[in-house]
Symmetry: C2
Subunit: 192 residues, 2 copies
């Protein structure tokens, strides 16, 4: 059963996707969630609390959709798993949009806010390592350094493509094509 607090965080995720972290107005959030502003302060203490907890909430959700796979589907090959993991972030679904938007906001905010940098750097490191791990299964003969480099390039490219998509500079289908080709290229590079 979704608690009231959870439904406020769901509403907050929608508002953030629409207005950004820095554009979130407590009043708009209250309207979106169908509650009073006072209730929001009761649950979250202050604006920063709303942001902190909602970002955490969004992150947890993302972990779920990144990990979950259809249990009836045949187990994917390593290469398929790599592609799926990366392409998952370039999909026009509510959850992905909300997550990517929040991630982009976090990245942009960290440029000016020291306090965000450590968390963001750690999350980035984990994400890079995960991709490096998948690449290592596809190309087991590669050195750790080469794998890390390829993973850094692919995830940084993905962030760049994602921002272009969200900001209306690049159609989603084209972004997916470009990323797929980059995966091909990086895998080939590791194999040579």
């Amino acid at each position: 059963m979704a608690s009231r607090k959870t439904s406020i965080m769901e509403a907050a995720a929608r508002v953030i996707a629409r207005r950004g972290v820095r554009g979130l107005r407590v009043e708009e959030l209250a309207a979106e969630a169908g509650v009073s502003t006072a209730l929001i302060y009761y649950h979250f203490k202050d604006r920063t609390g709303i942001l902190r907890q909602t970002l955490e909430f969004i992150n947890d959700r993302a972990e779920r959709y990144t990990t979950e796979r259809d249990p009836d589907a045949p187990p994917p090959t390593a290469r398929e798993e790599l592609e799926q993991t990366l392409l998952l972030e370039l999909q026009d679904t509510v959850e992905v949009r909300e997550n990517s938007t929040a991630w982009g906001e976090l990245r942009a905010s960290a440029v000016f806010d020291e306090t965000l940098r450590e968390d963001l750097a750690r999350a980035t490191r984990i994400w890079v390592q995960e991709v490096a791990g998948l690449l290592g299964v596809v190309q087991p003969m590669s050195s750790a350094v080469a794998l890390a480099g390829a993973a850094e390039r692919l995830t940084a490219l993905l962030e760049g493509l994602s921002m272009r998509w969200l900001s209306g500079s690049l159609p989603l289908a084209h972004a997916r094509t470009l990323l797929t080709e980059a995966i091909d290229t990086e895998v080939a590079r590791l194999g040579s």
Copy 2:
């Protein structure tokens, strides 16, 4: 002779680099420029005017540093010119920082602001075409589609690496290495 208005825009560029487009406070800008807030409104009409004109100003400056080359240096090969053009954006100088920061802010803002999208998409298109042109000189046998794809990947990667650098997730030297390797890979890909 730099006019007062110009010196306010220079100050605005510094404030934007420090606080971001959305963090720019007119009062802080006034202090930075050593003038009153009233004077700023006299010259720029309103906050939006400050932003519009300063972003244009920064863009012009960027065009200059991207184009300018040491006249005494030997003319670069096509490959060198390609590398220089891209790596120029990954340098720790005041101008590049200000420009990259502004660009990142613009990109992030456009996710929530329709009115910015058209300009941004056009600027992106021009930038991609310029890089595609340079790639075409390096690999003249490539198809236009292949050149465009490589240019889109390289510029999107550059944006991603730049944001990671500015947000403290990636040391500058490493970002440069990753980009150089990506250029190698894309050029090789076009040649095969």
